[in-house]
Symmetry: C2
Subunit: 196 residues, 2 copies
């Protein structure tokens, strides 16, 4: 499976990022996360403030709907306007599709499992709440971990649901879904590599 692309979606605190980073390192391929995708999209003309705003909007279904009120004109169609959050999504989608077409990489988040479906191994990483809370507090140093975990998971689910016809976290949205509370980060990597 030369040129393989692995796209990862994950619950907050599940260790999905570590799985992705270490997998890319072991396989000797590029790793793309939110920051790198942002950087790439920024080249296309968006400024960081627009990005932050779009991210906030994307985290809330309610704000998604309100965003219609703060939309800007789409180029070439003066009477049709597109919310900024959607414009950012489409710009990101273009970058993700380009990265996917180049092959040989691991991409995490931003609906990449959906955008690259049929052209990648789609992985979902999850874990038991108690293990995720421990990781969030000990490894990420986050306070109010329980509330943050629920909020971030909800934001990821909303974002996925807004831009795709899939359910975030449903087994059938992925080729492999892995519980790191059972497998550990090492086991998750072993499982994914078993398919190469």
């Amino acid at each position: 499976m030369g040129g393989q692309v692995i796209a990862i979606s994950r619950e907050f605190g599940s260790g999905g990022r570590q799985v992705g980073e270490r997998l890319a390192e072991e396989l000797g391929v590029a790793f793309y996360d939110k920051a790198l995708i942002h950087l790439a999209v920024a080249k296309s003309g968006f400024d960081p403030i627009t990005f932050e705003k779009a991210e906030e909007e994307a985290a809330s279904k309610f704000l998604f709907n309100l965003a219609i009120g703060s939309c800007v004109s789409a180029g070439g169609f003066p009477h049709i306007s597109v919310p900024i959050s959607d414009q950012v999504f489409f710009a990101q989608a273009k970058v993700i599709e380009e990265l996917g077409a180049r092959g040989n990489c691991v991409i995490i988040g931003r609906c990449s499992t959906y955008l690259l479906r049929n052209r990648c191994l789609r992985v979902f990483i999850h874990g038991e709440a108690k293990d995720r809370l421990r990781r969030i507090v000990e490894e990420y140093g986050v306070t109010e971990a329980e509330a943050r975990m629920a909020k971030i998971d909800r934001a990821r689910a909303n974002y996925h649901q807004h831009y795709t016809d899939e359910v975030w976290g449903a087994a059938r949205s992925y080729d492999l879904a892995i519980n790191t509370s059972y497998t550990g980060v090492d086991g998750a990597i072993r499982v994914i590599r078993a398919l190469r």
Copy 2:
């Protein structure tokens, strides 16, 4: 992981049964499916007709509710009655828990992933509709495959939802969820064995 138990839940036509059977064969451990569990429970006093009835009831949420009207007295509690479908489930659950405690086996269906949680590797096998339909027609010789596939999946989801607090097919109900349309039956076995 000596004595490991692998419990499998699956979409109809996903190849989950083949994965389970071949896995058990490769690992040299026992394989328990519906028929074997029925046989074991029958020893406990139920007759095959009671079983068939309970299975039919279990396939429908509507009938689940009606079953309350056809319940029989539970031993020792003359004023408390339990639907037959529930009695069969509890008898099956007891057998599954005994098989799980013995270890070294693969068990498929009957909420075994839930009943043996924390004591087994919980696997969900699914696949794209087109591949499942092909398998249902070619390998199982089923007619009206599309309707049967939808009906059987719905029955499995209802059964799981009635007896557990989990969502059937949600990634977090399992330790590994595998799309055989991506992995094939061989790949699914390789993925599961990567954890041993």
